[in-house]
């Protein structure tokens, strides 16, 4: 088996798990696909490091990258695409059927319901900041303007709200990779 076969085999084994892991984290199938593509593009660029590892170590390595990429996405509200761009990888569009399938396989409906409950437990300030930023996808400067706070404060409220939700949901829904 040559390197390319080995890499493709890794994707065959772990691609779905990585995608579902990221879908549960982001609850956005399109974002999860973009992050999955970047995760494997990083893996391809780092094949020299990854190749000698055993299957479990490779898996751990992959999910580490996936978590970091998701973390950056959560902080910056944009998907990092450096490795994808450098490798010239065309990320395919997410088909409508895929959206439903990923939603179902990842239990995103149930997760969203639980999220609704947890949202109700947040402070009014955090909840409104999340609604404006996450639901209505308004830019931070507009969130800040609507809330009557500085942009820095708006970002902090969104960030704290997201972290609070993650902390509440993760133990119950097993958002780790083993749940995929």
């Amino acid at each position: 088996m040559d390197d390319a076969d080995a890499f493709s085999g890794l994707y065959e084994r772990e691609g779905e798990a990585v995608l579902f892991f990221l879908a549960r984290r982001s609850m956005e199938p399109e974002v999860a696909v973009d992050l999955t593509a970047e995760t494997f593009a990083v893996a391809l660029r780092s094949w020299g490091t990854l190749c000698p590892l055993g299957p479990e170590q490779r898996r751990a390595w992959l999910f580490t990258v996936a978590r970091r990429l998701y973390g950056r996405y959560a902080r910056r509200a944009r998907v990092e695409r450096r490795a994808v761009e450098r490798l010239g990888i065309q990320v395919p569009p997410v088909h409508r059927d895929d959206l439903a399938l990923i939603e179902e396989r990842c239990g995103l409906g149930e997760l969203r319901a639980a999220l609704g409950l947890e949202l109700a437990r947040l402070s009014n300030e955090q909840r409104e900041a999340l609604r404006l930023r996450v639901v209505e996808e308004r830019p931070y400067d507009e969130v800040a303007r609507r809330l009557g706070v500085s942009e820095q404060t708006a970002r902090a409220r969104v960030s704290r709200g997201l972290r609070a939700l993650t902390a509440a949901l993760e133990p119950r829904f097993g958002l780790g990779e083993e749940a995929s």
Binding site: D2, D3, A4, F7, S8, Y11, E12, G15, E16, L19, V33, A37, A41, L44, R45, S46, G48, E56, Q57, R59, A60, T64, A66, R67, R68, R75, R76, R81, R82, V84, E85, R86, L87, G88, I89, Q90, V91, P92, P93, V94, H95, D98, I102, R105, E151, Q152, R155, A156, R160, R163, A164, T166, A167, E170, P171, R172, L175, G176, E177, E178
Partner: protein
């Protein structure tokens, strides 16, 4: 068997194609080569104007361009010990290079700087009155026709900064395709979308007029790079680099439908890629023939014959195991409170301060791992990582936890520092603490094993397949009742 999303299959095909282009088969080459930093897809670029390249700076009469308000600074260099660090006073240098724009107007120039955390950054812009500026054109600055000075923090791309080598130099070659001639790329002041920018799916902006777009190739090739040879519009030219950094800057008209495959128009590497540069000549007579005819390019591997590292690059020196080995303590507790330390997040353009907070969760076991860093870390290159696994289980996603990663969930430094670690300096003797188990997979009954390792990049950049030394700090065990 569960149905697989079609997008996964299609992405797999694309990844497989990329893998076959960038991974050189061991059986064919006799050695493993990672070729995958970039692949070359040269498409003939019809260039509308020949470039006149020279080392003589063009003093642009200030009377032709009045100055508008400077571009607002960003806090990217606001903290000396976090992120990229702060700009070292006196390190900002406008290079003696001025490249004409194909359509006229102020020439293009380069500026370099170094930071307190060992980064070197190169910036590009238009030159007016020996100042690096963006122009009020191409929809930027309401087309006010003025020059807007670029503060050092406002002209930094994600590609523009790399670690300094042992001699305090940095190597970085950047390609920007289809960007507006205003040079106002970095702060999204334009309302049109350059062709080299990924088209936003949520906002419909018109494409910028092609006549307003440029392809800009620039960078630093090191002190030993004497000249470059490039081919544009069928004409081959050799141009001296600017000493002592080996700097070059080429500006050409953009052409329609010209994209770096996959997305946007920007990329960077240790030697020029996705550029018309075909070779680099060095002072010792060596020549790097860039493998532009090949379908892949891999940083300094793109040179033929392949290079271990860019010529003139002095690898960073990593600490030895004896210097970093330290006792590690692991303490098991049972808690239902997650405490998030106060911290500062650097997004590249903003600094966000987050206060400490506590969150209640269902009670779980937690391991608090701590050790004293024996060495000071004041560089982008180094990062402590923690690996652990539950009893009878292999390593898993949570087994790799960057101590001090700006993700911040499970990492914190004591001494009320708020933040420490990979994204920030660590003092010699500073206690670093990481917590395992409250977030992510729960700890299970039995003996948990873990290690801490210092990852230290010695290559020209901190990512990718470039050399990284893994220096063991120590190991720990903890028993979960």
């Amino acid at each position: 068997m569960s149905q697989r999303p079609r997008v996964l299959v299609e992405l797999g095909v694309e990844l497989d194609r990329a893998a076959r282009e960038v991974l050189v088969d061991v059986s064919k080459s006799g050695r493993r080569t990672i070729a995958g930093r970039l692949r070359w897809r040269w498409r003939a670029v019809p260039v509308l104007a020949l470039l006149v390249l020279g080392g003589t700076a063009v003093a642009f009469a200030s009377g032709l361009f009045s100055f508008g308000a400077p571009v607002p600074p960003t806090p990217i260099f606001s903290s000396a010990d976090v992120g990229l660090g702060a700009v070292i006073p006196g390190s900002v240098k406008l290079l003696p290079i001025a490249t004409p724009d194909p359509k006229g107007g102020p020439p293009w120039g380069l500026r370099v700087l170094t930071t307190t955390r060992g980064a070197g950054c190169v910036q590009v812009g238009r030159l007016v009155d020996s100042r690096l500026v963006a122009l009020g054109q191409d929809d930027a600055f309401a087309n006010d026709g003025r020059a807007h000075e670029l503060p050092v923090s406002a002209a930094v791309t994600s590609f523009g900064c790399t670690p300094l080598d042992s001699n305090g130099r940095f190597f970085n070659s950047i390609t920007m395709l289809g960007q507006t001639a205003s040079a106002a790329w970095w702060f999204r002041s334009t309302t049109c979308v350059p062709t080299g920018t990924p088209q936003s799916t949520s906002r419909a902006h018109p494409a910028c007029p092609l006549a307003d777009e440029r392809d800009v190739y620039y960078g630093l090739l090191g002190p030993d790079a004497k000249s470059i040879t490039y081919t544009l519009a069928g004409q081959t030219r050799t141009q001296a680099t600017t000493r002592p950094d080996g700097a070059y800057l080429i500006v050409a008209d953009a052409s329609a439908h010209q994209r770096i495959p996959g997305a946007g128009g920007g990329t960077a590497d240790d030697v020029p890629v996705f550029s018309p540069i075909t070779s680099i000549q060095y002072t010792d007579g060596a020549t790097c023939h860039l493998l532009t005819a090949h379908k892949w390019i891999a940083g300094f591997h793109a040179c033929s014959p392949p290079l271990k590292e860019p010529i003139g690059y002095a690898p960073a020196i990593a600490p030895t195991p004896a210097q970093v080995t330290a006792p590690i303590t692991a303490r098991v507790t049972y808690t239902h409170v997650i405490r998030f330390p106060a911290r500062v997040i650097h997004t590249g353009t903003r600094v966000i301060h987050i206060r400490a907070q506590s969150i209640s969760i269902p009670a779980r076991h937690e391991i608090t791992v701590s050790f004293k860093s024996r060495i000071a870390i004041r560089t982008l290159r180094a990062q402590y990582q923690l690996e652990w696994h539950n009893p009878r289980e292999p390593a898993r996603v949570d087994s790799y936890t960057s101590i001090g990663d700006s993700n911040g969930f499970v990492t914190r430094a004591e001494a009320d520092l708020g933040e420490a670690g990979a994204g920030a300096d660590i003092a010699a003797g500073q206690t670093l603490t990481a917590n395992i188990g409250l977030l992510g997979p729960p700890l299970t009954h039995g003996m948990v094993h873990g290690t801490i390792t210092l990852y230290y990049s010695t290559g020209p950049s901190v990512d990718g397949e470039l050399p990284t030394k893994k220096i063991p700090v120590g190991s720990f065990t903890a028993t979960i009742p």
